[in-house]
C-alpha cells in the first residue's frame, strides 16, 4: 500500500500545519510527518483509526520531538507540549493556508518552490516528484532539503508572507509542467488550487482554477496518439471535457462578477470563449481581442501582445494581425510561428515557408519542432504545385 492508496495524501498539509503552528521548525516537522506516514502504512493495515489526522498528528509530533531531542531544547519543547491543547479534531484551514505561503516563499527559486509545494502541500513522495521531473531521486531529495533550509533560514516558520500571488504563480508552474511518470502534475495542480479556493476568498484564485480547468478540458484533443501536436483549429471538439468546461466557465463568470479583475480571470475568460465555440470559425474573436486589450492593461508583456496579434488576425484579417505583430519584438518565443501563419493567410506562401522553417529551428520542444517542420513542408509542397 502507498500513501496515495491509503488516502493519506490530503492529510499531509493539515498535520504539517499543526506541527508548524505548535512551533516546530518547518524542515524537521516535514521529516516528522513523512515518518508518521510510514508508520501509518506499516501499522494500519485494513483497520485505520477513527480520526486518521489526529493519529498522524500525535505520531508526527512525537517523531518531531525525537528528531530534535537534545538536553536543553527538549525542556522547552516539553513545556510547550504541555501547554498545547490535546490532539483532537485538527482540521484547520489557516494552518494549511500558511503552508502554501511557506512553500511559495519568495526567497525560494521557482523550481524549489514547486518541489516543496508538491511534497509539503501535495503530500507527494520525493520519488514521485523526481519521476515527474525526470531527475534522479537523490537530486530531488537535495533540492527539497535545500528549499526547507532556505525557508528555515528566512526565519518564517511562524510568519509566512501572505502574498497569494506567489502561491498562484507556483501552482501555475506545476500545472504547466504537464505530466510524466505516474503523477499527473496538471491534475495535482488542479487539486491544490481547488483546495486553495476553499481556504481563501480571492476571485483571482477562482480565476486560476477556472483557467486550469478550461485548459485541462482540452487536453485529450491537443495531441495525437503518436504525441504530435494538434493546433486549436484542428482539434476534435467532441474530445473536450464538457463537465470541466461548464465548471470552469461558471467559476470565471462568478469571479468576474465580483469586479476585482486580475490576469488569471482574464486568461480564463479567453479560454472560456474558445471552449464555448462550436468551431474555430464560430469563435467570438472580437470579444477575445477585447479581453486581450484588458490583459495588456494588467500585464503588458511581449507574450500577451503576441497572443493578441493572433486574435486580431482572426477578428480583423491577416493584415491587421501583421500590424499588431509588428509591436512584438524579435526573439519572443513562437513569434516566427505566428508570423508564418499570418503571412500564409495573407497569401505570401514563400515568406510563410521560410518563417515556418525558422520557427522549427527555434522551437522550444520536440513536439513543436516537428509540428513547425511539417508546416514548412506543407507550404513548400503547395509552392511546388503552383
Amino acid at each position: 500500500m502507498s500513501v496515495d492508496d491509503a488516502g493519506l495524501r490530503p492529510l499531509v498539509p493539515q498535520v504539517l500545519g499543526v506541527l508548524v503552528r505548535r512551533g516546530a521548525d518547518f524542515a524537521t516537522a516535514e521529516d516528522a510527518v513523512q515518518e508518521a506516514l510510514l508508520r501509518a502504512l506499516a501499522t494500519w493495515g485494513d483497520d485505520p483509526p477513527d480520526q486518521p489526522a489526529a493519529w498522524l498528528t500525535t505520531v508526527a509530533w512525537r517523531a518531531f520531538l525525537d528528531l530534535t531531542r537534545s538536553a536543553t531544547a527538549r525542556r522547552d519543547r516539553e513545556a510547550r507540549f504541555d501547554a498545547e491543547p490535546p490532539a483532537g479534531a485538527v482540521h484547520s484551514a489557516d494552518d494549511t493556508l500558511r503552508l502554501y505561503f511557506l512553500c511559495a516563499h519568495p526567497e525560494l527559486t521557482p523550481s524549489s518552490a514547486v518541489a516543496l509545494t508538491l511534497r509539503a502541500v501535495g503530500g507527494l513522495t520525493t520519488r514521485q516528484i523526481a519521476e515527474a521531473y525526470l531527475v534522479p531521486e537523490a537530486t530531488m531529495a537535495q533540492r527539497i532539503s535545500r528549499a526547507k533550509r532556505t525557508v528555515a533560514a528566512a526565519g518564517l516558520a511562524g510568519d509566512a508572507p501572505d502574498d497569494v500571488a506567489t502561491v498562484m504563480r507556483v501552482l501555475y508552474l506545476v500545472f504547466n509542467e504537464g505530466y510524466s511518470g505516474d503523477v499527473d502534475l496538471a491534475a495535482e495542480a488542479i487539486r491544490l488550487t481547488r483546495q486553495l479556493t476553499e481556504l481563501t476568498d480571492d476571485p483571482e484564485v477562482a480565476g486560476l482554477l477556472a483557467l486550469m480547468l478550461l485548459h485541462h478540458a482540452r487536453r485529450r484533443s491537443r495531441t495525437r496518439p503518436d504525441g504530435s501536436l494538434v493546433p486549436l483549429a484542428e482539434q476534435d471538439r467532441a474530445l473536450w471535457d464538457d463537465a470541466l468546461i461548464i465548471e470552469g466557465t461558471g467559476l470565471v463568470q462568478s469571479a468576474l462578477s465580483r469586479d476585482r479583475l486580475g490576469e488569471y480571470q482574464v486568461q480564463a475568460a479567453i479560454a472560456a470563449l474558445h471552449a464555448d465555440a462550436p468551431s474555430v470559425d464560430e469563435t467570438d474573436w472580437v470579444q477575445i481581442v477585447e479581453w486581450y486589450d484588458e490583459l495588456l492593461g494588467l500585464a503588458d508583456t511581449p507574450i500577451v501582445r503576441l497572443n493578441r496579434a493572433v486574435a486580431v488576425g482572426e477578428a480583423d484579417g491577416a493584415p491587421a494581425g501583421l500590424s499588431a505583430l509588428a509591436e512584438v519584438p524579435d526573439g519572443v518565443p513562437r513569434r516566427e510561428a505566428v508570423a508564418a501563419h499570418l503571412h500564409e493567410r495573407n497569401g505570401d506562401l514563400a515568406l510563410a515557408a521560410r518563417l515556418y522553417a525558422e520557427a522549427a529551428r527555434n522551437a522550444p520542444n520536440q513536439a513543436e519542432r516537428d509540428h513547425q517542420t511539417r508546416q514548412a513542408a506543407r507550404v513548400n509542397e503547395l509552392l511546388r504545385r503552383r
Binding site: 503518436d226 504530435s228 527555434n362 520536440q366 516537428d370 513542408a377
Partner: protein, 135 residues
C-alpha cells in the same frame, strides 16, 4: 555491456548523401522520418539497449570563466563554421559491432523521396570505471 554515445550533428559532420533540408520534404516524408526515429527508440527500449536520447536546440553559447569577480565570457551564438550537436542517444550494448550496427540503422532514417538520408553519425564509447576483478 558498454555504453556508447551516438551524436547527430546540425553542422560539422560530412554532408549526408540524400542531403535535402527537412522543410523541403513532403509532409508525408516528414511524418515517416519522425515515426522511424520514434520506432527506433521504442525498439531499443524493448531490447534493453536504450539509456536515453534527447534533441538539443540549434543555437547555444560557448562560455568561459573570465576571472575573479567578472561575469563569464560568451561568444554569443555559434559562428557558422563550428560543429553543432543536434541530438544524442546513449545506448548500452554488448559489443562495439552492435553499436556500429545500430548507428548504421539510425543513419538509414528515411528522408526526401523516402530514401535513406545516409547521414553520418558520430559513435563514441564512454570511459568506464576499471573492473573490480582482474581478467
Amino acid at each position: 555491456m558498454a555504453k556508447y554515445l551516438l551524436l547527430k550533428h546540425y553542422r560539422g559532420a560530412p554532408a549526408p548523401e540524400n542531403n535535402v533540408p527537412m522543410d523541403q520534404w513532403t509532409p508525408e516524408e516528414v511524418d515517416a522520418h519522425i515515426q522511424f526515429m520514434a520506432d527506433f527508440g521504442t525498439r531499443l527500449e524493448a531490447t534493453g539497449e536504450l539509456v536515453g536520447a534527447e534533441a538539443v536546440a540549434a543555437e547555444g553559447m560557448w562560455v568561459r570563466y573570465d576571472g575573479e569577480g567578472k561575469p563569464p565570457v560568451t561568444d554569443g551564438p555559434f559562428a557558422e563554421t563550428k560543429d553543432l550537436i543536434a541530438g544524442w542517444m546513449i545506448i548500452d550494448v554488448d559489443t562495439e559491432a552492435r553499436a556500429i550496427e545500430l548507428a548504421g540503422e539510425l543513419s538509414a532514417a528515411p528522408g526526401a523521396n523516402g530514401e535513406p538520408i545516409h547521414e553520418w553519425l558520430e559513435v563514441r564509447p564512454f570511459l568506464a570505471m576499471p573492473p573490480t576483478v582482474d581478467g
